[in-house]
Symmetry: C2
Subunit: 400 residues, 2 copies
């Protein structure tokens, strides 16, 4: 437990450093052309972008300084050095550092979509290699109802590595597309990280306590640095987190999920992101026209956010698109308005398919900060749901 206390103290220091270091750096980012204009404000100030690179670096420095701590006993007692645990720590840092570099490069250079999918996969290679040499357990226990078909367990082999490789890509992009109002990216990441931390702390008394302690080594500094960032990213944002932060967060979650052996439980904490992704599918796969920006529209008269919309001729959609839309319409999950233009064809206006717009469809136009709060409350509720799935319900499907 000593190592966790040291880690916690270092995390507190990291929080203070982040809080103190961001304001003086703001000008540096604007000077370097790294800034955005907040579309949901009347003032059109330059807001520094990609500040996630600062918290990422502080996170890395904190963990670099922490490296010797878990191994202090082996060092002082001249015992056999646990190289296998050591390499886990180093490889995890390598993957995170690599991702931070890629994220920052993306913010600066605006990488193409294919890079955004390819590079996280490459960055997770060292991690998979460590998993391979240290555990190489690719066997999955089958839930009870399905055991008559698949048996007690199934060895996924290579497929399990593909799954782990895609985990980083998923976590990164899942956070990246549930975004668009001040404080949401950092806020949701902090809630996910806190859920992971609670889960790890509960499991510290289980058989796999070592893996969960390992996860906490990363999650504490992550929460600390992200809270520091959230202080400035909260409404009204003084700084934007940038893709850097999403890349960095996604990889941190993937790392602890993989090396902490709870990647499936971790996905449970991503329910809002999964819902947002599924809801976005018709636009992501271009079944419905998708504008460049899908964030809610700001109405300067009322200082409230309204839905942003996409407009199209109904006859331009293909069959799959029409089926998707009619299901969503029937379930009242979208705003839907039909009208005829001079070409006497039926045109449709509906909201962009994001969770943000859906909340506005449901609750009506609201101030930006209210929307952020609703979404974060939703994230917390989903985490509670995740815990109830993981603990009471899991006993129905698995022997505990």
């Amino acid at each position: 437990m000593f190592t966790l206390v040291v880690n916690g103290l270092m995390s507190c220091i990291a929080y203070l450093v982040v809080v103190r270091i961001i304001p003086p750096l703001e000008g540096m980012f604007i000077k370097a052309n790294l800034y955005g204009i907040d579309l949901s404000k009347t003032k059109k100030d330059k807001v520094p972008e990609a500040i996630g690179v600062v918290t990422g670096c502080i996170f890395l420095i904190a963990l670099f300084l922490f490296i010797p701590v878990p191994f202090s006993s082996s060092i002082f007692e001249n015992a056999d050095f646990p190289h296998d645990e050591f390499v886990e720590l180093i490889a995890a840092l390598l993957s995170i550092c690599c991702m931070l570099l890629l994220g920052f490069a993306d913010d600066v250079l605006d990488l193409k979509w294919r890079h955004k999918l390819l590079l996280p996969t490459v960055a997770s290679l060292p991690l998979l290699m460590v998993y391979y040499v240290n555990f190489n357990s690719t066997t999955v226990i089958i839930p009870k109802p399905f055991r008559s078909w698949f048996g007690f367990s199934i060895n996924l082999g290579l497929l399990y590595y593909v799954y782990m490789g895609m985990l980083a890509v998923f976590c990164t992009n899942a956070i990246n597309i549930l975004a668009g109002v001040n404080g949401l990216e950092a806020g949701q990441s902090v809630i996910i990280a806190m859920s992971i931390a609670i889960f790890n702390l509960l499991e510290l008394y289980g058989d796999l306590w070592k893996a969960h302690r390992f996860s906490l080594y990363f999650i504490f500094p992550y929460i600390a640095t992200s809270l520091g960032l959230l202080k400035y990213n909260w409404y009204p944002s003084r700084v934007f987190v940038g893709d850097t932060f999403c890349y960095f967060s996604g990889m941190t979650f993937a790392v602890v999920g993989i090396l902490g052996h709870f990647s499936k439980t971790m996905l449970l904490f991503f329910i809002p992101q999964v819902i947002n992704f599924l809801y976005s599918v018709p636009q992501l796969f271009r079944l419905v026209p998708c504008p460049r920006h899908r964030i809610p529209r700001y109405n300067p008269q009322t200082d409230k956010l309204e839905i942003s919309t996409t407009t199209f001729k109904l006859s331009d959609l293909n069959v799959t698109g029409i089926i998707c839309l009619s299901i969503l319409k029937k379930l009242r999950l979208i705003h839907w308005k039909e009208y005829y233009k001079e070409d006497s064809e039926k045109w449709v206006q509906c909201n962009n398919f994001t969770l943000l717009n859906f909340f506005i469809v449901l609750l009506g136009p609201m101030r930006e900060v209210a929307l952020t709060k609703y979404l974060l409350i939703f994230q917390v509720i989903c985490s509670l749901l995740a815990f109830s799935i993981r603990y009471p319900l899991a006993s129905l499907f698995y022997d505990v």
Copy 2:
């Protein structure tokens, strides 16, 4: 040897990738405001800056893909996995990746001097930790003439770690300050890397062959990617390498020097950089006024480079400054011109203290490409000198 062949093949592919990928990325860098104007050309085109990040990433990807190769036999034969060798590879990549991130951040954000000294030290922490747990040999053999005073060997303890920590800072900045003409940073780095490769190949038949093979794993891809970069950075430069490249190169050299156990021999390949540093000392420590840019002055009439100068009142210098200058003047190592201004005080104009200006003082104004060639030839000569110090002369000072 099989692993070295695979590594060599992967390096060739890395070279081809670098050569193909740089041209399409040029526009991306200019769009992101990452460009410089070549001061030594009549055309004032935007030249993309910080392209070192591209070669660095290709280098990392090549090594990520190479990771499993050296361990393939342990994996297939189910033998005891050599975690200690594995962690060396991963930690080395972590330090290099970290440095690439810092270098790129420096190019984008223009970091302060204190960051430039602090951050490389932090980035080398994982490396030192690995050195500590894997070797922790801090004993230095004393050269024969000094053994009567110090004994056969001396244990430097913590001091040795300080020395290794400073190695990264030294290598980085040594390359960074011997710069200013097209192709020089990349060119000198390639020559240093080739010298290291030759040294490693010679030592492959010695006792420490494993350490030297480890070094070659990094040096081959490094040479390949840097040669690819040099192709576009050579006179007239289509791209600039940026601080990113210097950081990345410096750390790569430090890594192989430390984990390959030849950090002292490696320093021998930095003779021109050391000379340049010593020659620069009066300006670096502000004994003599130091302008923002010290690169040679371009004369568009002749298309030749001339010395750039610094001008000051002789009475403004302190004692140390005057002593330095008079020694340099006596040895004819500087250009020196005295004159009187209307204030009837003695003013002095002398060249900026860089090796580049010194070559022009020595050989007269010349075209930029000629200066680069002279400096690179000088680098090769110094490498030959280094080998003659390391091999024939070392036997006078050490038992071989």
